[in-house]
């Protein structure tokens, strides 16, 4: 990276709110980057041109979020790591995205459902950041929420269209839902990093979004005539750095160029 994603750092106080501050920001950044990578895999493979363009547009917005968040995390960390260092030069166990976003795309319906579940969660997180004591992060949230709401709207329409579509599309969506839903509990699991984010005023009200997300997504899934799977005790561990077998493949593709040609420029 030759230029920072944004120089908003110059105007704010960069004292971290506790030792977990940068770690929490990195979780958010990794979630955006990894989902962006997954969505961009659809480039040139979308079922129709419009959705090909939609997925790549959403991927680009997510990449923009990731860049802002990585730059901010780097500044908080104060060790000179920039966005490229985070994206290209960390290994699998250092990525802290929830497992949900790294799972293979599956078919179009599964990709839609996964992205919709995550961006619906993101919309709520950006909302909690409006009251964050980290004003730079609040600014990133205020910027991102406008874009995320478009993503949620578009993907949610597809969830309904496919769920309440043909017998085949309904069957596929129900299968995807049954597969993906156990992974969503990780988004709401309040471990030490999440709890610290709440307690330090970084992301106040984080413990309240599970309920809202469940109500919102259930309403859409109901319109889509899909059956919400019963909760399971399964808890994914991507945020702890223990990823699914899919993650290594994702990273090797994403990082190959940067690692084969360090410092390469356009």
């Amino acid at each position: 990276m030759n230029t920072p994603a944004a120089t908003h750092e110059s105007t704010i106080d960069l004292k971290p709110l506790g030792p977990q501050h940068a770690a929490w920001v990195l979780r958010l950044a990794d979630g955006s980057l990894v989902l962006s990578q997954r969505l961009s895999e659809w480039c040139g493979h979308g079922p129709v041109l419009e959705e090909d363009i939609a997925f790549t547009n959403i991927a680009l917005d997510l990449l923009g979020q990731a860049r802002l968040l990585y730059s901010h995390a780097g500044a908080l960390e104060g060790q000179g790591r920039d966005e490229d260092a985070f994206a290209y030069w960390r290994d699998e166990s250092e990525f802290r995205n929830p497992t949900l976003v790294e799972l293979p795309n599956g078919d179009f319906g599964q990709s839609v459902l996964r992205a919709w579940a995550y961006v619906s969660w993101q919309c709520l997180v950006w909302g909690t950041l409006a009251k964050s004591r980290d004003t730079a992060l609040a600014a990133i949230g205020a910027k991102s929420v406008k874009e995320s709401r478009y993503h949620q709207e578009h993907l949610g329409n597809w969830v309904v269209r496919l769920g309440d579509g043909t017998e085949e599309s309904h069957r596929r969506m129900q299968t995807a839902l049954d597969y993906l839903w156990p992974y969503t509990s990780e988004l709401f699991h309040l471990d030490a990093v999440e709890t610290a984010a709440m307690d330090t005023g970084l992301a106040p009200g984080l413990d309240r979004i599970a309920e809202i997300w469940t109500a919102n997504t259930n309403a859409t899934l109901h319109s889509a005539t899909l059956t919400v799977p019963a909760p399971t005790p399964f808890l994914a561990t991507g945020r702890q750095g223990r990823h699914s077998e899919a993650m290594g493949y994702l990273l090797s593709e994403m990082q190959a160029l940067a690692r084969a040609h360090p410092g390469a420029r356009w």
Binding site: M1, N2, T3, P4, A5, A6, T7, H8, S10, T11, L49, E50, I53, A54, N57, I58, L60, D61, L62, L63, G64, Q65, A66, R67, L68, E83, D84, A87, Y88, T135, A138, A139, I140, A142, K143, S144, K146, E147, R149, Y150, E153, H154, R265, W266
Partner: protein, 186 residues
Amino acid sequence: MSTGAPLPQDFFAAFGAIEQVPAPWDGSEEGLWTLLQAIPDPEIPAVSLVDLGIVREAHSEPATRSAAVVITPTYAGCPATEAIRQEIVRVLKAAGVADLRVELRIAPAWTTDWITAAGREALQRFGITPPCTIAGNLPRALQFRPACPRCGSHRTEQISAFGATPCKALHRCQHCREPFDYFKPL
């Protein structure tokens, strides 16, 4: 991630903008705005960066011929942002700004409500229907049916929620049957 890498020299030429030699800067803030007003957006060259609301502030220090410009990205991941920064630097340096600082600021977040009346007219002439001005109310904004930029009919439908650039959606006029771009309210 390296969307911020320097762009090829002919980037702006490729988008139809002509690399004009700007008039010399008189050292005033007003002169700075005049220069910025003449810089086209790289993706929609019919509209200036100022009219799109991308340039937020411009300050000058006549004694030292220095200037500071604040810009804001339209979309967080918009790859044109770096091109815009480079073009501002090129134009203002060519106009005689000795010391220039271009700051990229994301707060307050850019909104299409900042597009000026002149900018909206330019979009319309270019064949892009300007955004409705209720960007703050997304549910209502999504119900809005933009008028066809050719025949003015409101009998239009959305073909694709996402278009050729992050800021546009693709629509079609049911009256004259022509497809058109709609600048999404954000």
